[in-house]
């Protein structure tokens, strides 16, 4: 009895201490909020995790590119604009858009004059070839975009040559010539990767995540505390550059890691942080709070991403077009929107709305904002002669609820669905192996760059591989393949001229129901009260544009 009383006393005391500390913490936050509103900077950005690397030729995650795209300018970059305008490639260190040869394989580019890095060194044309060599040597995650398309890059990667034969440059005139192995329309997008950002020749050929090299962008990285924080200071030489379309930052940035989304939201809502990490969905309770208390500084922004269920079009039951149409007809997309905590915009087309080629025509199998027509779907399943077939639905554990919902839809329309939910680390290698024979499953595609070609590699039968296969539905449609091949050669700068042809492919994809598109992910844009919310640009490619952060 005595020990029980003692335990209760200790528990009460402990609870009291914790409450007191929490109250002190809360007060501290409020205090800092008040102080922050009077301060001129730096602006504090909270991130759910530390970028995989701050070295531009290594970093591949969205956390890394968000931080580095304004530090390491390449020859081209994206317009600092919201919405579709933000998907436009604009010249950065290049003086203009490239001259592309008639065959589409030779890009001639001229560097702007008088460019300097953040350490004061002169930017040279030969630094471009050096940066590409460095990205390949350091095994940048997407180096295939260089090795597969630039002549001689593959030989360099394999150690067969010490330079890339397809890139030549003249430091005196600032001219760079890039020869491709074959015409590749999105090559301008490839040149806009932060990994193609110029760094001084002679930068060590080793990853420099904690002491990143100088760049020629508006910011420079400083004070990296691995895993915890780093700063981005305004590049002291930037004022002289004055590159059109790239804003001059008004405030330094301090990035700190806060892995708990709830705490992260509290910091942004309370004012101790200025920008919430857009890669993390706001916790449901925080969404309510943001809508209630911070409606003027909270918005939901579209992301160039598509969420879908793939359907194996080569094997029963989904080798039947009617069976696939039945699945799409029965989809209750608003349910998935709720499963994604509201951060999903229902849709039926494979290309997200901000990507060129996304049709404006109505969906072929019902309103995507409707709850699905199960009765009609059942009828289609019966017509297809596949009723009662067993279907295994694959998914990774973070999207288990999606898989549960999809499996239940399949059951409801006449199939016998079972689930295969596995760890996210092994999920894509598993379903991308033809040996798995995955019949159906959850998938998403986040753009490498805002170009329809990037999305349509997932529907290109010519790219089916035994392992690492991206065409999960195993679509083998000669019309699509011919269209992708022809449109894939159109340079990114001329994309709008072929928007109608892409739309035709999109309508065919939706009509044939090759994939059951659920919708497009959205991201939270949440700032503190001291940030000029209206001025903050949300790039559809890299998220919040730090160069546009203005403090009141």
């Amino acid at each position: 009895m005595k020990s029980t009383v003692r335990m209760l006393a200790i528990a009460t005391l402990g609870f009291g201490c914790v409450s007191t500390i929490a109250a002190c913490g809360s007060g501290g936050n409020n205090g800092s909020s008040g102080k922050a509103s009077a301060a001129a900077g730096p602006a504090t950005v909270v991130a759910a995790s530390f970028p995989d690397s701050l070295d531009p030729q290594v970093g591949a995650t969205t956390g890394s590119t968000e931080a580095t795209w304004n530090v390491y300018l390449g020859l081209y970059t994206y317009a600092h604009a919201n919405g579709s305008a933000g998907t436009q490639v604009i010249p950065a260190l290049a003086s203009s858009l490239p001259k592309i040869s008639a065959g589409g394989t030779l890009y001639t580019i001229t560097l702007r004059r008088g460019l300097v890095y953040s350490d004061g060194a002169r930017v040279k044309a030969s630094d471009f070839a050096f940066a590409i060599r460095r990205a390949i040597k350091l095994n940048w995650g997407n180096k295939g975009f260089f090795t597969e398309h630039i002549a001689g890059a593959e030989a360099f990667d394999e150690g067969k040559s010490s330079s890339i034969s397809g890139i030549s440059s003249d430091d005196a005139t600032g001219t760079i010539a890039i020869r491709l192995t074959a015409p590749y329309g999105p090559f301008l997008n490839v040149l806009a990767f932060p990994a193609a950002g110029l760094v001084p020749s002679g930068t060590p050929m080793k990853a420099l995540p904690n002491d990143p090299p100088p760049g020629a962008g508006p910011y420079e990285i400083a004070h990296v505390v691995p895993g915890r924080s780093f700063e981005e200071r305004v590049n002291p030489h930037w004022a002289a550059e004055a590159i059109p379309g790239i804003p001059k930052p008004s405030v330094a940035i301090e990035v700190k890691v806060q892995s708990n989304p709830g705490a992260q939201a509290n910091e942004a809502l309370g004012g101790s942080a200025d920008l919430f990490d857009w890669n993390t969905p706001l916790p449901p309770a925080a969404v309510q709070q943001a809508k209630r208390e911070a409606s003027g500084r909270y918005a939901v922004e579209p992301v160039a991403q598509v969420t879908f269920f793939f359907l194996d079009t080569q094997e029963p039951p989904f080798n039947s077009e009617a069976a696939r149409q039945a699945v799409v007809t029965a989809l209750n997309r608003p349910a998935y929107e709720r499963l994604a905590s509201g951060y999903l915009s229902p849709g039926c087309y494979f290309l997200p709305p901000k990507i060129v080629g996304h049709p404006s025509a109505p969906c072929p199998y019902g309103d995507p904002n409707g709850n699905g027509d199960v009765a009609k779907a059942k009828q289609l399943v019966r017509q297809s002669g596949t009723a009662g077939d067993a279907v295994a639905v694959w998914g990774d554990s973070p999207h288990k609820e999606f898989v549960d919902n999809f499996a239940q839809t399949l059951d409801a329309i006449g199939y016998r669905a079972s689930e295969r939910v596995i760890s996210p680390s092994t999920y894509f290698p598993t379903i991308a192996s033809l040996k798995t024979k995955a019949q159906a499953g959850w998938a998403e595609w986040v753009q490498d760059f805002p170009n329809p070609v990037d999305f349509y590699q997932l529907l290109n039968g010519k790219l089916i591989h035994p392992e690492g296969n991206l065409d999960l539905s195993l679509v083998r449609d000669p019309v699509l393949e011919a269209g992708i091949e022809a449109l894939g050669k159109v340079p990114a700068s001329q994309l709008s001229s072929v928007a109608g042809r892409w739309e035709a492919l999109e309508r065919r994809t939706a009509q044939k129901a090759y994939v059951a598109v659920i919708g497009y992910q959205e991201a939270p844009k949440l700032t503190s009260a001291r940030v000029n919310f209206g001025a903050l640009v949300f790039s559809p490619v890299y998220g919040p544009d730090w160069t546009t952060i203005e403090l009141k």
Partner: protein, 345 residues
Amino acid sequence: MEVREHSPPPGRRRHASAWRRLLRQPAAIVAACVLLGIVTLCLLAPVYAREVAHTGPDANHVTATVSVSGRRLDVVSPTGVPIGPTWQGRFLFGADPNGRDVAVRLLYGGRNSLQIAAIATLLTMLLAVIVALLAGWFGGALDALLSRLMDLIWSYPVLLLGVALGVTLAVSGIDLGFTTLKGGSLLLPALIIGVVYVPYMARPLRAQTIELARREFVDAARQQGLSGARIMFGEILPNLSSSVVVFAPLLLANAILLESGLSFLGAGVQAPAPSWGTMISEGTRLMPAAIHLVLAPGLMLLAAVLSANVLAEAARDALDPRGRRLRVRPTAGGLDRGLPDGEPA
């Protein structure tokens, strides 16, 4: 003479007095009632689902609404927060993110958890008794081989071994020769749990077997010409029954806990089938906005495990009133390595 003829045999008399001692413990009665209540409720899950909740355990109602006190409410809000307890037939304990009735899933999840735990416990008991009798009776090379096998299993932390086996077999299933267990089969976690706990029971029982094999009544049986198998199963096994009875509820409690742990980590019951562990796992994502998702299965788990443990303690006291008892108690990683007091290790 008449009295002797009508007296029950010593074993039965011992069990009868143990039963009387058990009934004298109020905690044991309460624990037994709680456990029985949980089992009964779980067995009635289909009736509850059909007659009260009017929905199945896997039926999604994400975009549906429900009338609560005359108001229409979303089962799942547009921001993905499921409704909390309504304290009425539909969504009594609220809904989960897929709009599934938590009370229905709680009962079906309990069925799965208890079913797995019961099968695992029976499997452990069967294998452990066989291993203990063979190793303790025959000794020598067979004892060494079986003991090292037990050491090998014992050397792995139970949860890690369970997760490793569960994750490996969850998708592919396992071919046992005489039958194949598919990835989503409930028998798979039962098999895994049943096997990983064998050493915890087999080792103390083996020690008891060795001790019993040296007793006079076994010598007498030998001299009467009884075969080894008859002595093992006819003479020694009945004398192990007290220990087995004490072990059973303890193993059940630990099996329920391990099943929940495995399911929580995605290595136990596979979706969409519910279990208390998977329900807690799903609920953590929406903490603290929908705390009922963790609270309901958590409390159910607590009640089941606590009552099984109290029952085990009471059974031990009833069967061993003089304190000559097994020092076996549940720990975070499994069962404590206790042996009967004074028994050779």
